[in-house]
């Protein structure tokens, strides 16, 4: 009973949050709603007994990713309303709903529910984190390491891409210097 209430509650909350995130015209609102939705999603993980994932979800998504986005938004003019000039709303909603229905149909098809045998059955008496760790560092070690390298590469690339001219600090420069730097930048661009 408790599980059901929790499910429906969080389901409602995530749906609303995400819906706000995709429909609002305020970028800040969207960011906030998204972050909230992420946290609510971690609740599902906890309900499903995937504690480790829940924790990761909060740490990585709500923490790291959202922080990144927040940083990113600082570069852009976020105070301005986001213009959304969409030609046909029906296409957008129609396509999405169609896709959703199809996915449901596929999952609801009886053949999916049968014949699935667990490859890595849960180990009785071990915590979720421990279980995951055992699989992750045995069978999925190589992908794990690859993912780690990928993250590292992504980090470096993110810094390299975004961090040009990071050595110039706007707060420490005089106004004239800032104008010069901007001019120089424009020249480069052009």
């Amino acid at each position: 009973m408790f599980e059901a209430i929790a499910f429906y509650l969080f389901a409602f909350l995530t749906t609303v949050m995400f819906f706000i995130a995709v429909t609002t015209t305020q970028a800040l609102h969207a960011l906030t709603a998204l972050a909230a939705g992420m946290i609510f999603i971690s609740a599902f993980f906890f309900i499903l007994g995937a504690d480790f994932l829940g924790a990761i979800q909060i740490v990585v998504y709500s923490g790291a990713v959202m922080a990144l986005y927040a940083f990113g938004m600082m570069f852009f003019d976020t105070t301005r309303d986001v213009k959304e000039k969409n030609g046909n709303k029906y296409i957008v909603f129609g396509l999405s709903i169609l896709a959703a229905v199809l996915v449901v149909v596929i999952f609801a098809a009886p053949m999916v529910t049968n014949n699935i045998v667990a490859l890595h059955p849960m180990i009785e008496g071990a915590g979720n984190t421990q279980e995951l760790g055992m699989v992750l560092f045995t069978k999925y070690l190589v992908p794990f390491e690859v993912a780690a390298v990928m993250l590292l590469v992504a980090m470096v690339s993110g810094i390299v891409l975004a961090g040009k001219k990071m050595d110039l600090s706007l707060t420490l420069m005089s106004d004239a210097e800032i104008i010069d730097a901007k001019k120089e930048q424009h020249k480069k661009v052009l």
């Binding site: 499910f7 429909t23 959703a100 529910t113």
Partner: protein, 101 residues
């Protein structure tokens, strides 16, 4: 009122649809990224739920990797976005048409 796999799947689908709506209607690239995050998360829920109901850890591992990928994607994507913004002064999708065939 037992909550079964199908409940999660329906939820996941619903969120996926919301994500798709976002993907299609957002013109601001940053907000488009938000929508992709929603897509990824909806799939994550489905994975976790299936993993739970079948007692198979593979699903959870997938979620793990998806999160890792999402994180890297954000890092690289935002980097590119910033570069673009620096060059063009906007991150509007309609202005990105160099791939016109």
């Amino acid at each position: 009122m037992e909550i079964g796999l199908n409940h999660y799947l329906v939820l996941s689908t619903l969120l996926f649809a919301i994500g798709l709506i976002g993907v299609m209607r957002r013109k601001n690239l940053l907000l488009l990224f938000f929508a992709t995050e929603i897509l990824l998360n909806s799939v994550n829920i489905a994975f976790a739920a299936i993993s739970h109901y079948y007692g198979d850890l593979t699903g959870q591992l997938f979620v793990f990797f998806v999160i890792a990928i999402a994180a890297s994607e954000v890092a690289v994507g935002l980097g590119l976005l910033i570069v673009w913004h620096k060059r063009h002064g906007n991150i509007d999708l309609d202005h990105m048409s160099t791939m016109k065939g």
